[in-house]
Amino acid sequence: MNIVLVEDNILLAQQFRRTLEKSGYEVYVSPHAVGAIDLIDEVHPGAIVLDMLLIGSTALPLLHEMQSHDDLARIPVIMVTSLADDLSFESLKPYGVTHLLDKTSMHPEDLIAAVRSVTL
């Protein structure tokens, strides 16, 4: 199962990638939204793990773009951010966000559990 990870912190991206790969997922990383769209088109992921603050933009343009395509709108999005306290999960749901994980308090297993729950 392919997962697209959109995370601009290179070392954190490496960490999440290692965690997901150990659980059997194939992980493709983009540090910004523009690259992520190309990657999503290319690998047709089962889920997207998305940071909110990215290089050059927030995640919102990417979420908007995905919602404008029927096939992309169906891909579940797991948002992993240090801004979880400032975001409303309810307001993100219409954008396909199924989970909102807080980088400052989450456990690696939370990420695996969230991905598993949407890719089973």
Partner: protein, 242 residues
């Protein structure tokens, strides 16, 4: 009584409070990463080489966070004037900065190149403050440049040799206009914190304070495929006497 009046009575310093919140935001990211790495060491089934790599990353991330805390402390103490300006070789300093930050760049799969000069230049600066400005720029370029592209550090003379420019060029997405406009405005208020995604601009604001303390300036150039950040400082006239 209005809230602000109340706050004034209690002696709340909003400027300090804003800076504190921005600093807290900046430190959140490396601390969250350190925690993830520690949890991974604790709970994941890792090979010996993976353990060593994670431990190395923890060292690099903590060093990066400590650089920021030291910068913040130094920025607060600039007014004490406890630093000296002296002639320094900017090319050599660039080499030292590139060497110092190379482990972090390598861990991120990036490279910091120093453009070599034929003619030596001398600048008047405080070596530690200038080093910190360059480390700041280098750190910024690492996270905002595109993967697989080098970051370039260079020294050039301007204004007929009266000014020395030390600049860092990265190749990545262009910065939003609001970020550029905000440069020079000092630390931003919390409500402006996300004008540039992923960054509060605190590092650049500190760089600007350090540059001012050396009678220098910090500037930026926006490119179609990235950005340049530079610091301009006065050249030493010592070489002209030779």
């Amino acid at each position: 009584m209005k809230g602000s009046d109340n706050a004034q009575q209690r002696g709340v310093d909003y400027k300090s409070l804003s800076s504190l919140m921005i600093a807290a935001h900046e430190l959140k990211s490396p601390l969250a990463l350190l925690r993830q790495l520690a949890l991974s060491l604790e709970s994941e089934d890792l090979s010996e080489s993976e353990r060593r790599e994670i431990a190395h990353h923890m060292k690099l991330v903590s060093e990066r966070a400590l650089r920021l805390t030291t910068d913040l402390t130094k920025a607060q103490r600039l007014e004490d004037g406890l630093f000296t300006l002296e002639p320094i070789n900017p090319q050599q300093l660039c080499e030292e900065v590139a060497y110092e930050i190379a482990p972090l760049y390598r861990a991120c799969g990036r490279e910091l190149k120093v453009t070599r000069r034929q003619r030596p230049l001398l600048a008047i600066a405080n070596k530690d403050l200038l080093r910190r400005i360059l480390l700041n720029f280098a750190d910024n370029a690492l996270y905002y440049g595109d993967e697989m592209t080098p970051v370039e550090l260079s020294v050039s003379a301007r204004n007929n040799g009266g000014i020395i420019r030390l600049g860092i060029r990265d190749y990545g997405p262009a910065l939003p206009a609001d970020m550029w406009q905000s440069l020079g405005a000092g630390p931003r208020r919390p409500e402006q914190l996300h004008a540039r995604p992923s960054s509060s601009g605190l590092g650049l604001s500190i760089a600007q304070q350090f540059a001012r303390a050396m009678n220098g300036t910090v500037g930026t150039t926006r490119h179609r495929n990235g950005a340049s950040f530079h610091v301009d400082i006065y050249a030493s006239q010592q070489l002209t006497l030779i």
